[in-house]
Amino acid sequence: MKEKRIYQCEDSLEGIFSAVYIAWASRYGHDNIELEVLGMEEEYNLRLFSEYIMVESNPENASKVANSIKKKISAHAYQMVAKAALSNDKRKANAIYHFLVRGFAYGAKVEDHLSDPYVQIIFELNRNVGNDAHLYTGFVRFTELDNGILFAKIEPKNNVLEIITPHFADRLSKENFMILDVKRKIATIHRSYSTWILTTISDEELNTLLTVTEKKEKYEKLWKTFFESIAIKERENKVCQRNHVAMHYRKYMTEFMEDKEDKVDKEDKVDKEDKEDRVDKEDRVVKEDKVVIEVKIENEGK
């Protein structure tokens, strides 16, 4: 058996495409090739009988890959891949590579090949990122700064910032606004009646941005009033509410943010909900751990 080759790349579309290019050009045999994105594993274990190759991002190679996808598969397939690359799922680079292997063989029809495991993953990541982005078009909350600029903070699981910004740029074309992804330290900035840009944020800038917004606004209070009074008491149902807007979305949503004065009486409730949410997560982690252990045992058996 040939040794596996694992191509490692940066966590970006350009990084993944650069690795796709190099891996493809190696003619090492698609079945013996894996791709992985660096920095997505929490604990990193090198695998035996594998050769690791780090691929530097190369814009030229990446754009070659992008063009051939558009030409030989389809524009839609390109969109699917681009969206999948924004996912926080660590299978993404490998799935993209093998999806493209099939895509170059089947052409545009590859999207329909839902019984193929890699097509399934791309499909799944797409849906995941797409759903997340759709939710964020609703859940982003702007606050108005003193100078009239609208400012929003998000911490999305998938990197949806650049998907959602065009929506806001069209909708709020006359506004100056900024959406900040606090975790990834990137932001999009839109100027009134102009275009928008995506930019990285330094730690220093981030600190300034996080302190600048602690101001109480009239309309935030009105919004909370509305949010409380629109609920029907006879139908109250926090579980249903949480199914629709999970706890991790709520961090920067005005209506879920605590006022200082009414923090005390709400604390119990939120605590409880938080706990339930955490229990959910822990469950999941435990399950994933089990899988990992099982896989390890299997590998040792061999």
Partner: protein, 539 residues
């Protein structure tokens, strides 16, 4: 009546959103419109939910009443004239600035404006019209507006609203005319249906001029049209084209077929001619006369006036179209004695005769003490509301007809099974279905397969034979579907295609009810087969 002068905007908002909360339909869907220079806002065809309130319902629009004063005394309504509640009224400026400022902060997708009746329907409608005009022309708001038409207002006023709003709705209030007479003595069916008809005609006219931008058709219409007058073979042919994405070809296929009775006037005047239908609908219900019957029935007091065409093209035409997101309605479930059978038939008729986009149901909540109102021991009938919505989906997306779902002998939905499962168990002769060959519409009838998964199956099986594990990935709910399908001739497990067996098996799977039903102390889960007579008679 308590009238408070000089309320703050916060107090007003609190009262007038609280008073609006029983309105259903917070949807912002139905029309996609890009942003415009100089104005703020766009709309997204799929709609966007911005928040979810403590009852788990979506908040998409700033849902408020213009005023909660009301000259009417509808027994079920919190704002009825005889109730002693604080009353207040917004000014148009207040509504506009709230909408704009909420919208800029991305709290909402737009405005949902309803109202109590202050002085007269015309007076109220005019105030609302002025507000919408101000919002669109002075504040340059280009986002979504849903506005209630007030029955009894002049056609001209309603038309004005239609040019500013994206969606309009007229509340049917209760499923039948009798119910209305009993609980809303100041309202009558004719006054409610007139504006619905007027808006429908306006949308139609707008569409003729603007194309789909002027107002697109609802899901019900599309589903019926796809199925209309076609053999399975024809459908299959189209199906194949549709799902490999040759939309142009399919359009040609559809358009090349002669259509029956597309004439506008013809369609809006026919209806209820079906004997079976007319029996379940009360006499007052039979408003539309079949074309042959017009002359003999013209004196019927409830005959709807044929709407005039749109009269304000010069003023507004070319902006947005007339009610481009279509119209909807809502009715209260469980306040009066109608059966599900009647309600589903009324719903179907509303789609057929009025081209509605949606019909919403709202489980009755007893907010007033009144002898005419029922006391429901289990709280609002949420499970019933849920079943009706499921049936509504079957009508609009699955091509089911009301008569397939319920019969006079079994007039109510089964509490244990959703309407589709219930139907499938009653029609086992049509199963099992072979996943790798069955056409789209046959797949759609399998419990556990929906429009999305059926579409994916049709596509995916062209690439490779599908196995059960593939179906799971595609999104089929196998624990339901497995009794009704084969993959390459084999069932997933050895199973009997027999009513009792499948019923028992399916009862083991706890239906995944949306949490709004399971939470509210509903005893659904605790019922057992034996202590529920309804199960035995219905299932």
């Amino acid at each position: 009546m308590i009238i408070q002068e000089s309320m703050t905007i916060e107090q007003k908002l609190s009262i007038l959103s609280d008073a609006a909360k029983y309105d259903v339909a917070c949807t912002s869907s139905g029309v996609g419109r890009d942003g415009k220079d100089g104005s703020i806002g766009n709309t997204v065809a799929s709609g966007i939910c911005h928040a979810f309130s403590a009852d788990g319902r979506c908040i998409s629009l700033l849902k408020i009443l213009f005023t909660n004063e009301c000259i009417y005394d509808c027994k079920y309504c919190i704002n009825r004239a005889s109730n002693d509640v604080p009353r207040t009224t917004f000014t148009p400026e207040e509504v506009c600035s709230l909408t704009m400022e909420f919208y800029r902060r991305n709290y909402i997708e737009g405005l949902f404006l309803s109202s109590g009746i202050i002085k007269t329907p015309n007076y109220t409608m005019e105030l609302i019209g002025r507000t919408l005009k101000m919002l669109r022309t002075e504040y340059h708001f280009n986002g979504y507006i849903h506005c209630k038409a007030i029955p009894g207002a002049d056609a001209e006023l309603i038309e004005t609203i239609g040019w500013f709003a994206d969606r309009m709705s007229v509340n049917l209030e209760l499923p039948t005319a009798e119910g209305l007479k009993l609980l809303a003595p100041h309202k009558n069916r004719k006054n409610i249906l007139n504006p619905i008809r007027q808006i429908q005609a306006g949308i139609e006219e707008s569409r003729e001029n603007f194309g789909m931008m002027g107002g697109n058709k609802g899901a019900y219409w599309h589903t019926r049209r796809k199925l209309d007058q076609k053999s399975i073979a024809q459908k299959r042919e189209e199906d194949a084209l549709l799902h490999i994405g040759h939309k142009d070809q399919i359009r040609r296929v559809i358009e090349s077929k002669p259509e029956k009775s597309v004439g506008f006037s013809n369609r809006i005047l026919t209806g209820w001619e079906d004997e079976k239908e007319s029996k379940i609908l009360t006499p007052n219900h039979r408003i539309y006369q079949s074309s042959q019957g017009i002359s003999s029935n013209i004196e019927t007091p409830t005959l709807i006036t044929k709407p005039e065409g749109l009269s304000m093209w010069n003023q507004f035409g070319g902006n947005r179209g007339f009610v481009p997101a279509g119209q909807s309605t809502q009715m209260i479930i469980g306040a009066t004695g109608e059966t599900d059978y009647e309600i589903v038939h009324v719903t179907e008729a509303l789609y057929q005769k009025f081209d509605l986009k949606r019909v919403f149901f709202s489980a009755f909540i007893r907010v007033n003490e009144d002898n005419a109102l029922p006391v429901l021991s289990g709280g609002p009938p949420l499970l019933r509301e849920h079943r009706l919505y499921q049936a509504d989906w079957l009508l609009r997306y699955y091509g089911f007809e009301a008569t397939e779902l319920l019969t006079k002998e079994r007039p109510n939905f089964n509490v244990f099974f959703d309407p589709k499962c219930n139907w499938a168990i009653g029609h086992l002769e049509q199963f099992p279905v072979e996943v790798n060959t069955a056409d789209y519409y046959t797949l759609l009838r399998v419990p556990g397969i929906g429009p999305k998964s059926a579409g994916r199956i049709v596509k995916a099986r062209q690439m490779a034979k599908l196995r059960f594990e593939d179906l799971k990935k595609i999104g089929v709910v196998l624990k339901r579907a497995l009794y009704f399908i084969t993959c390459s001739g084999k069932m997933m497990y050895p199973t009997k295609i027999e009513e009792n067996y499948i019923t028992n098996q399916m009862l083991q799977i706890n239906e995944k009810l949306p949490s709004h039903i399971t939470n509210g102390g509903i005893t659904y889960q605790q019922l057992s087969l034996f202590d529920n007579p309804q199960m035995l008679s219905n299932g």
